[in-house]
Symmetry: C2
Subunit: 271 residues, 2 copies
C-alpha cells in the first residue's frame, strides 16, 4: 500500500475522531490503515488537538495505559452557542407556530439535524466528565436530540415508551402524575434495556411541570439505576409548580402575549 503523507493522515485521523466522539481510540488503530509509524501519528494528533482546541470545536484527550489512546469530546464555543440560541429564539417566535391550547409547534426544529446536533453539543458538554452509562428519553419528539447527546457521550440511548410493545419482551411499567395537568399517565421500559446500577441522564424537548422527568427518576429506581441529571431544549417557566428543581435548559418559554408573540429567552445557563 502507498504511504500517506501528513496531510492525508490528518484528514483520516480527524474523520475517525469526529465519527467516534467520547470513545477511546487506540493509536494502533491508525498504524496499519495509514501505514505510518507511531511517532508520526503522535505528531499528527498534536496538530489535530491544537487546531480543534484553538477553533473551540472540542477537546482531544490522551488516555494513558494499556487500554489508552485518544478521545475526541465535541464542544461548541460560547460565541457559537450564543448565536445559535439567539437565532433559535427568533425562529421559534412566529405566529404560525401557535397551536390551539397555547402550544407551540416545534417538530421542524426537533427533527432538523442542523439544529438538533448543535443543541445536543450544548447539552452533552454539560455532562462531560461525568460517568454517564445511558441517555434516556421518552418517545417521541425528543428522540433525535437525545440520540445526538448519547452519540456525543459515546453511550447508548434508551427510549421509554408510553405503552408496552409485544416486540420488547417483559417490561417494567410505572404510573406518574403529569406535573402540569395532574393527570395520571403510564410509561414503560423493556427489562432488557439497562443493567442494574446504571447512571443515566434524561434528555427531552420540552419541560412543563417536570412530571415526566420525575416519572423517569422513579422508573430508573425500578432498575436500581440512578438519574444523574436532566437537560431539555425548552423550559416552560410559566409553570410555578415544578416537581423537579435541578435541570438544564437551553431556552426559556414565557408564554404567548395578546399580540400572539411567542415569548422566549436564552436560559440562565446560556447567558
Amino acid at each position: 500500500m502507498d504511504r500517506f503523507n501528513r496531510n492525508n493522515r490528518i484528514v483520516a485521523i480527524t474523520q475517525i475522531l469526529l465519527n467516534n466522539p467520547s470513545r477511546v481510540i487506540s493509536l494502533n488503530n491508525f498504524l496499519e490503515p495509514l501505514n505510518a509509524a507511531k511517532s508520526s501519528i503522535s505528531e499528527d494528533i498534536v496538530i489535530i488537538r491544537e487546531t480543534i482546541e484553538r477553533l473551540q470545536l472540542g477537546a482531544v484527550e490522551s488516555i494513558s495505559g494499556a487500554s489508552g489512546g485518544i478521545k475526541y469530546i465535541p464542544k461548541i464555543s460560547k460565541e457559537d452557542t450564543n448565536k445559535f440560541v439567539k437565532d433559535l429564539c427568533e425562529k421559534l417566535n412566529s405566529k404560525e407556530r401557535i397551536v390551539p391550547g397555547n402550544f407551540i409547534y416545534i417538530n421542524d426544529i426537533m427533527f432538523n439535524p442542523k439544529i438538533v446536533s448543535k443543541a445536543a453539543t450544548i447539552l452533552s458538554s454539560l455532562f462531560e466528565g461525568q460517568q454517564v452509562d445511558y441517555v434516556v428519553t421518552v418517545e417521541t419528539k425528543g428522540i433525535p436530540l437525545a440520540y445526538e447527546v448519547s452519540k456525543n457521550l459515546g453511550v447508548e440511548l434508551i427510549i421509554v415508551r408510553r405503552d408496552t410493545k409485544v416486540t420488547e419482551g417483559p417490561t417494567v411499567s410505572i404510573n406518574y402524575v403529569s406535573g402540569s395537568s395532574g393527570r395520571i399517565q403510564n410509561m414503560s421500559l423493556s427489562k432488557k434495556s439497562l443493567k442494574k446500577g446504571s447512571k443515566c441522564i434524561f434528555i427531552d424537548d420540552f419541560m412543563k411541570g417536570g412530571g415526566t422527568a420525575k416519572g423517569i427518576m422513579d422508573l430508573l429506581k425500578e432498575f436500581e439505576s440512578e438519574l444523574l441529571g436532566i437537560g431539555v431544549l425548552i423550559d416552560n417557566i410559566q409553570s410555578d409548580k415544578k416537581v423537579i428543581k435541578e435541570y438544564f435548559s437551553i431556552i426559556e418559554f414565557l408564554g404567548i402575549d395578546e399580540d400572539e408573540n411567542v415569548l422566549l429567552k436564552p436560559s440562565n445557563l446560556i447567558k
Copy 2:
C-alpha cells in the same frame, strides 16, 4: 488573528465538511475564520477530497456557480459494509433476543449510535443523487436510523405518529391494513409537516408485510407528495404476502429454527 497553516486548515475544513453532510458550503465560509486566501483553501480541499476518496470514506463534490461551493457525501466502503453486516448478523443471532411471539429484541441495536450511523450511511448512499426533500419514518424504533439518514442527505426528518397529539395542530390521519396481521391501524401527521409536492424516502427498522410502508405512501398522497424509495435495516422475508415490492434492506430475517437460532443473512443488496 494568527494565520493557520495548511495542517490546521485541513483539520478545520474536514470538521466543517463532516458536520454538514450533503450541504453545499461556499468557500467564502472558510476564508475569514481561517484567515486564508481562496487559492490556499482550494488546495486544501484538493488534499481533503483525495484522502477521503482514497480511504473510501465518502465523496467531496464541487458545485460551480454563484451558489456553489463544496459538498461532502458520506459513504462506506464495500469492505467495511460487508464486515459491518456480518458482525451485525452475529450480534443479532442470540437466543436471548428471542421474545415470545417469535420477535427479536433489537432496541440495543437501533439505539446504539455506532451501529445506527453505519447502517444509515449504507442506506443514504442508495438514495444519493436523487432529489430527496424529506426522510420519513413512523414512531418509534426506527427514529434514530431515519434521523441519521436525513442528516447524511442534508434534509429534515418527518416522524409519523400512531395517534394525534394536541401539540401539533391540525393533522391528517389515515387508516391502513397491517400487511402481516390484517389489522386496521392508524397513522397521522401534522399538516405543518411538509410542503405539497415533496419527494420523500421512508426509513424503518423492520419490514414484515409492508403494510406500514404502504400506509406511508397513502399518507404522503394526502399531502400531494411522493414516496421515492424505502430502506429498512431488517427485512422479514418469511412474509410471502408483501404489499410492497420495491425496497432496500440490509439484513434478511428468515425466522427462528427449532434450536432457537435466529436465522439471518446479508441482503442481496449487500452481497
